[in-house]
């Protein structure tokens, strides 16, 4: 027990204490069709302004912070403030300008449209 206390003290004095929120990995569905990739991410309790989506160097980083008010008189607590974070490797040929996201009922829908170059194309045969 005494050792455990020591650890807690150390954490308080550590200067590089950055991540305060517990990190959770959200559940994700990934779909694809000829036009785009589509991601469904479960992030209950996250407000729209607390979500950040970064696409950099082929890596898509999705972060959503959930802040819950601390209420008094808790009888049962199974979830709390947390950070949802997940990183994906994105294939080449995503049209960055058209990436679109929407949030409904705690589910984030992320559309990653494919650029024209990678879309399947039918080649017409001319008469020679």
């Amino acid at each position: 027990m005494s050792q455990e206390k020591q650890v807690i003290q150390k954490e308080q004095t550590a200067p590089e204490k950055i991540a305060k929120l517990n990190v959770l990995i959200p559940s994700v569905d990934i779909y694809e069709n000829t036009e785009e990739y589509l991601l469904y991410v479960d992030i209950p309790g996250v407000n729209r302004e607390d979500i950040s989506i970064d696409l950099d160097n082929g890596q898509l980083t999705l972060t959503g912070n959930r802040y819950l008010e601390q209420s008094k008189g808790q009888l049962m607590e199974e979830f709390s403030s947390a950070q949802f974070r997940r990183v994906f490797s994105v294939p080449q040929g995503i049209d960055l300008a058209k990436v679109d996201a929407e949030l409904t009922d705690g589910v984030l829908r992320l559309h990653l449209p494919k650029s024209e170059a990678v879309k399947p194309r039918k080649i017409e045969i001319r008469e020679g």
Partner: protein, 149 residues
């Protein structure tokens, strides 16, 4: 017999020391490890719940991502509470599925509340996938101020 017992205790004390070591390790890393939200709920696939007692009423918050308000049913009777719901998990049409982690198309979770509530005055709202339920306590269960004559 006494010496043997002493031996056993000696053995256990070294086990305790080992346990302390593990606790030390776990304490350091526990908060930094990401937790995989398996099926968004607690291991049995139920939605997670927070329950607070604010004196006059009980406040219940439930994690329900992807559920619209018409997908959820709430039943309250006395101190019995049941929440059930169904959500569409089938993806959009015409898409190939690469990954499918968001399962649990339906759930039912019931519990006995610690205090009787007045079901007629209960209100519920849902925002960003979190259902909040306000359950005012029944008159008999409310705190009463007693004046001294």
């Amino acid at each position: 017999m006494r010496t043997r017992f002493h031996d056993l205790q000696h053995l256990l004390s070294s086990m305790d020391a080992l346990q302390d070591r593990f606790n030390l390790l776990a304490g350091e890393t526990y908060n930094r490890l990401p937790i995989f939200e398996r099926g968004w709920g607690i291991p049995d696939g139920w939605p997670k719940m927070n329950l607070y007692d604010t004196g006059e009423q009980l406040e219940l918050n439930v994690e329900l991502p992807g559920y619209a308000k018409e997908d959820i049913n709430i039943k309250v009777q006395g101190n019995y509470l049941e929440i059930s719901g169904t959500r569409k998990t089938a993806g959009p049409e015409g898409y190939t599925v690469h990954r499918h982690e968001r399962e649990n198309p339906q759930f039912t979770r019931s519990m006995t509340l610690p205090i009787e509530v007045d079901s007629g005055l209960a209100t519920a709202s849902i925002k960003n996938g979190i259902l909040s339920l306000i359950l005012p306590k029944s008159v008999a269960a409310r705190p009463q101020q007693i004046t001294i004559r």
